[in-house]
Symmetry: C4
Subunit: 196 residues, 4 copies
């Protein structure tokens, strides 16, 4: 693909900045309780748990983004804009987190949260497909990226499933969100081990 | 012109920081719907579309800013302050985006959005003129920068036009916004190809 | 432990970004007085003092974080996620600061502030324990990190104490917050001297 | 002068991050007009002008901060904390800007704005005094830093004067703010020339 003459460093720096802001401004949505009591604080527990989940999800995405950029061979124009596409969907996380936190037992906001994460998964998938393309001449690497891509596709499927199942029971959707996060966690470690 | 002894790296880092914040804080303006329904969400669709447009516009500006800094030979005092001037007008994007999103069918906020983008174009134009000046002794480069400058001038003209036409039909202004964004997209690719 | 292939630089850059945002967005919680008088301004003095304390506390954490990363030999997966854990608890500082500032004479928000700082201390402690583990083969360094770890444990104890004592007199808790901050200050200097 | 073992790069990066956020979040305080008319927009003109002034003031501080860090020979513990002190007073700029913008004809908020800028000047003065100390063995450099220090002291005097004169006529204070900003501008250029 066409190189843009843009260093990976600057794309990483910009992405880091955007992701750092995304993960931090969510706390601004967490309004302090109106009364200085535990009872009042517990009322915002769902918002707090939404924040905790999103912090974890965005942190995982940041780690994956790093591994991704590390593997990229050049910043093609396509990679640059696919990265912008990912940042856009990630930038919606504070919005859907706040919406879900305030309406934690309603299917629609929970499904919307799942849909935004599904869009993030699609974005990662497209980025990974670009890597596979960049590595056409290196069958082993291309094979590796294809494997990660299939894992991305499975997460995408689970997020879409969670959006649908939220209309049956929101608890099922929450369980899927936590399970996908947990599943990303462990392989990352194994990946690191195999690389060590 | 006078070098400031300031490395390009730090100007880039500061600009990256400011642009990353601009692109991300816009989501804070997107208030979650009062009710957990699709109907309530659709009411903020204009705000969402404004955000999407501005995300794209600011992302394009960031890419152009990178190409610009890459081409700069030194951080003269003039370049430093012309860059600050650009960041100032870019920093107003969240404001005009929010204003337009909340009053999407009113000519004044739409025209104001166009005017702010026009100011950003003027800022880019002034920065590019500084590059032409820096390259006086390299006719080929100066010629290249003059060409980009003319493209900037055309965007400026279109943004001013959109501000005027918003008073006839806001849809025309929206169409111009999208077309300018699309036009920046493609040449960037061609530029990259020719550089590859 | 397993190296992640992630450079210390990028973890530092991301952490710097998150901490810079944490320390700065707190000012957004400081609402301007409703009237342009000194009297109205003095009403938000508790919020201002909360902000001042938190600015100091977060600044100290940033300095400690720097020393910590400097000492780390590699970014293991465990270190990476222990760092994310620290950033999470730090990201709650703006929330507990705002809550305490608005209810400065109530034990619950003051205790909650102390508890969040205690969680930050635990996070630093876990990070330090990871360093001790990384340095098992270097008894002198391991000994040094164990010493810092014991200091962390003492801060943790003081923060937990402050949370408990806030229910007797909030002033006692405030005194502990200030004393812990002051105690971190001086040793940092001595540490620097011995390293000089 | 105890060295902290902290690289200038990381202090610059953290300061850049904080300053970039300060300069950008001010726009969040600029609430969009309630009605989509020029008349409604003009009502927030004072807030806009406050923002414009503060953007300029903070941008100048950033440039000065860069020159300062460039001249620093090592990050002593004192320099590190004097820098944090500066960032603290700078972090209050969004607050005093908002307060002044909403009460532009009232002496108190205007005086408070002047006082915060005076505190920033004191902070720069203390940082510069540390540089003079670092350069004791280089009389020429020390002389140069002493000269800049005297210029800082004059700005400090003017800001204090503006705070006092705001109680006679706020316009006088505004004039001083603009004049100090303009005065910083030109010498910076000359400085650059002499360094070129």
């Amino acid at each position: 693909m066409e190189p843009t003459g843009m260093g990976k460093g600057r794309v990483e720096a910009f992405s880091d900045g955007v992701i750092a802001i995304i993960v931090t401004i969510m706390i601004l949505e967490l309004r302090t309780p109106s009364e200085p009591t535990l009872r009042a604080l517990l009322k915002i527990a769902p918002s707090f748990l939404s924040y905790l989940l999103s912090f974890l999800v965005v942190a995982i995405m940041w780690v994956n983004h790093h591994h991704f950029m590390h593997a990229a061979r050049e910043v093609s124009a396509r990679l640059l804009w696919l990265n912008m596409n990912l940042l856009f969907w990630m930038s919606l996380v504070p919005f859907v987190t706040d919406f879900m936190g305030k309406n934690h037992s309603q299917p629609f906001p929970v499904a919307l949260y799942g849909l935004d994460l599904a869009c993030c998964s699609v974005s990662f998938l497209l980025l990974r497909a670009e890597l596979v393309r960049q590595c056409r001449d290196l069958p082993e690497l291309a094979e590796y990226h294809s494997k990660v891509l299939r894992k991305n596709a499975f997460s995408l499927f689970l997020y879409l499933l969670s959006a649908a199942l939220a209309y049956i029971r929101v608890e099922v959707a929450y369980t899927i969100f936590i399970m996908v996060a947990a599943s990303y966690f462990l392989p990352e470690k194994r990946l690191a081990e195999s690389a060590g």
